[in-house]
Symmetry: C2
């Protein structure tokens, strides 16, 4: 008896949001897909590229439980037995904060062919939007991509030490933990006046940005953010911040407060 | 008198090499370009997408002098006075080790409209090729992108401390300085047995990879590398290394050496 024909699974980076920031390869794979399992955060215009596929939302990137992840793994394995081209579409790049390893391991254990298609990650889209290079001669020779979030039962690794040592940092999934981020970095000697840019919905038409400082971040985060936010930290953002009227205003208010104290 | 019509300059990420890892937006901008100034490392298939443009090579990414950079800045400003769509095409992503800030500043100072189109950076393409996620629950919650190279007259920032603190690291432009990288990281307490993967020409058909350890990296680098290499460091590569026969062989030889000593 012939073995049942097996499909191939593609873990595809959907990029930061804008459909035209998908790679050509990702667009081709989506166009060929029979079924697409996608994060809730993937933009509808990106999903529309999978014109002939069944599209199945399987939860968002952060905050999902491991039981949900095991269920996704099982659905991917099952789909590969039934379809030729299965796509697992993840926001940003699959290999950065995408929980890709668990899916790769499950698919390999089941003997299924798997390929990863990279995507533009949110921090690089945000830097492009801002027109600020994350590295700069004489000012920044390294960039860390970090998250303060940890999974259930996982020890908190010392993300704050890495960020405090880096020239530039991008913090993912940190918008809801701004107070903890500021406290942890101040405790490691990072100056309160370090420039911070919060970019919400990078690359999308409704994208918003706030120029602030590490010390002022928690108050901003309390009232401002609505969508997914990447936090960019570093001296490389000082020039761009000075061009921003709202930031100049913040500095004036901080100075006035200090004079009153 | 009417002002001379001014063009727009696009700083475009060419991605890691493979033409289909360009974004859809980058492909569109290249197709519309009147003139393209490109790094020497950009793949011919990517350049071919700029079918109607004059294509001008302006040196490679690393090792070029600041006079050359000033000359590139001037050529971009001059081209924007003559053409509608000017593209500056850079390997990988423009905002990571691409010297983009100097070009952005020069163009803004000349009052020229400029837009950045992000690209897939080499480390993410390498991770996709390897099928290894750079982050992993319980093992890696942060990734640093660093380079040991500094410009003329620039103080050496402590890149090694950042890398030593990070869960996972990608080192760019480090292939020629493997001995210095190993020495600096060992001095900061990084274990000699830390898994290292060197990926040459990530995403291209002739791509090669070597699974090694931090301690064994200098000997490998002396004899093996020919093209651009990204070095990936971290425990997340241990499983992939164990699947690689050549690495298992290396471990056997190290063990035999230790038994003899």
């Amino acid at each position: 008896m012939a073995k049942p024909s097996r499909g191939k699974v593609y873990l595809v980076g959907a990029g930061p949001g804008a459909a035209d920031l998908l790679t050509l390869r990702a667009a081709r794979v989506l166009a060929e897909a029979d079924v697409v399992f996608h994060d809730a955060l993937v933009h509808p215009e990106v999903l529309a590229l999978a014109s002939r596929a069944e599209r199945i939302a399987v939860g968002k990137r952060c905050g999902r439980h491991s039981t949900a992840q095991r269920f996704i793994n099982k659905r991917l394995v099952d789909a590969a037995a039934k379809h030729r081209t299965v796509v697992r579409l993840k926001g940003g790049d699959p290999m950065l904060f995408g929980r890709a390893q668990e899916e790769l391991d499950a698919l390999r254990a089941a003997g299924i062919d798997v390929e990863v298609v990279p995507g533009i990650t949110a921090a690089l889209a945000a830097a492009a939007d801002l027109g600020v290079s994350l590295t700069r001669r004489g000012a920044s020779r390294n960039v860390v991509f970090a998250t303060p979030r940890v999974g259930d039962g996982e020890p908190t690794s010392d993300w704050a030490s890495v960020v405090a040592h880096a020239d530039t940092a991008a913090i993912y999934m940190g918008a809801g933990e701004a107070a903890a981020i500021t406290a942890a970095l101040l405790a490691r000697g990072t100056p309160s006046g370090l420039p911070v840019v919060a970019v919400e919905n990078a690359s999308l038409p409704g994208s918003r940005r706030w120029f602030t400082t590490l010390g002022a971040l928690p108050r901003l985060a309390e009232k401002a953010f609505r969508g997914p936010v990447v936090l960019l930290l570093g001296e490389v953002f000082a020039d761009a911040a000075r061009r921003e009227p709202a930031y100049a205003d913040l500095l004036r208010r901080v100075a006035a407060h200090l004079l009153r104290a």
